[in-house]
Symmetry: C2
Subunit: 311 residues, 2 copies
């Protein structure tokens, strides 16, 4: 399937429901909402599945496309979903078309349009909309910019390639409100988050001449900061801001007395080998595990294992 | 003058000295070094003025191009310099050619090639190098990516336009080491800086239901954090990370007992009007002033004036 045939396929159907994945991020939400808007402009009835997990930053952009309770879909399209276990309840096994950029996609839908080389699903939907309608509305451009910028960490992640920058240029030309998106998604955080960051930075522990950095997040810190679930995004990245740190460990105390541990590293050290010691796993540069015990104890334990694995 | 005529002009000269501005940033340094490399590939002898103010992040990229003591220039080119008062000592009034993107450029040189619509000088030099040599080396691409990314705040500032994203795409295609630049210039900071940020976030004061945020940086905090001059970049931006804040004030205690005040705001409030009360000035969204007194006192004073001006 190519872009034009995928666009034509979409336009042969009516009453289209578009699915986003569990714990929806900017790419699934922005891409789905932009596609929904473009299909409507192409004369189709289309709605988003009303994903209840959508957060307060995305809802103002996407909530208006949530399907009403009486909508009866006749064609189901998933956007940015690699595996139908990531579906919201009720649509497992029922997708007619899957549009995705994850190379690991499990081809769960009747038909699939996968572009594994793309940094974001938004770039695929950009091409689809250009095929459906020739142009984008400024609102669609903004929705796709949310997808592109969040999936590339505002063009700082390793997946940021020339095509991602070109897509950004095109979205700016189409009128994307880049400044507002940057402010909402990359600059502004709640006062509670700032208080929490303050405590985390203040409590950083260093081992092996600063090459191992450990951040600790306790229940008491969350309480003192007044932090909510929304304030806890990407905490695992904070320890890695330290110059000289190679292995970055984040220990987050859970309510049941165990700790959730995230390990990030440069290619020099195998994060998954560190987490495997505790029955966890992941990738060479990002892995995780759960360890019983108090945060202080778990921190020292992990730092010790990191030193051993590094040898 | 257009790109090709500027490129030809450069190639008609020999023993070229390239100037960067005082307190050099990534754009002046990266653009100048990339131009120097390209002129050498074009058969010319070219060096950078050995700017002693160049910081530890830029030096590894640019230091190799610093002119030896016995170099006698016959043609002087300034890069990213808006006014020859921003020259390093000794070359005021001696520039033969000025290459710049500041609309405010004072046309101090014998000839000027100004492109005020460009977000960075790096984009101008990109076009010049393509005119001189057709292609860029990966090293030149990396140098220009330093200029482009730092002058656009890694594509988050308001000057980021479609052309800036297109230039980024081209630099990636030419082999720019985007990941290393992003890590060095946007992600990593010293442990001292993290300690200082922790203290600043912890000490934030809010007025008018959180719409005025005040950050205080005292000499004692700098001492406790072990912060050096290099650690103090963009402190004025930290208070603005708070959701809901409209006016962001940073009060930095100086060694002489006065305070340097930076005010940032959305278009709703005039920062320069706040600073004008204390004899300072600037722009509507970014202004500054110096106020006598202890940081605590100055903070309350500024918050009060901000409330008055906002009425």
């Amino acid at each position: 399937m190519d872009t034009n045939s995928c666009a034509k396929l979409l336009l042969t159907h009516e009453n289209i429901l578009i699915l986003t994945h569990k714990n929806p991020d900017g790419d699934t939400a922005g891409s789905a909402a932009a596609l929904c808007s473009a299909l409507r402009r192409g004369g189709r009835t289309a709605w988003l599945f009303p994903n209840r997990e959508m957060g307060r930053k995305l809802l103002p952009y996407c909530g208006q496309y949530f399907a009403p309770a009486d909508f009866r879909p006749r064609y189901v399209v998933s956007v940015d979903i690699a595996d139908d276990r990531l579906f919201c309840q009720g649509y497992e096994g029922k997708a007619d078309l899957c549009i995705d950029h994850h190379p690991s996609n499990t081809h769960f839908a009747a038909e699939s349009y996968i572009r594994g080389e793309k940094a974001s699903c938004a770039e695929i939907v950009l091409e689809l909309i250009q095929s459906i309608n020739a142009d984008l509305t400024p609102e669609e451009a903004t929705l796709l910019y949310i997808g592109l910028s969040t999936d590339t960490g505002c063009f700082q992640y390793g997946n940021t390639n020339a095509a991602a920058f070109e897509a950004a240029a095109e979205l700016v030309r189409c009128g994307a409100d880049v400044m507002t998106v940057n402010t909402v998604f990359f600059r502004k955080v709640t006062p509670a988050r700032l208080r929490l960051e303050s405590m985390i930075y203040n409590g950083l522990r260093f081992y092996r001449d600063g090459k191992i950095a450990v951040a600790v997040v306790t229940q008491e810190m969350l309480r003192q900061a007044g932090a909510k679930e929304d304030d806890l995004d990407d905490l695992a990245g904070l320890a890695g801001r330290c110059e000289g740190s190679v292995v970055n460990i984040t220990v987050r105390e859970k309510e049941d007395g165990s700790c959730r541990v995230s390990v990030r590293s440069t290619p020099e050290v195998d994060s998954s080998a560190i987490c495997a010691v505790f029955g966890g796993g992941g990738h060479a540069m990002a892995a995780g595990c759960t360890v019983e015990g108090a945060p202080e104890h778990v921190s020292r334990l992990l730092a010790g294992v990191a030193e051993e694995v590094w040898k």
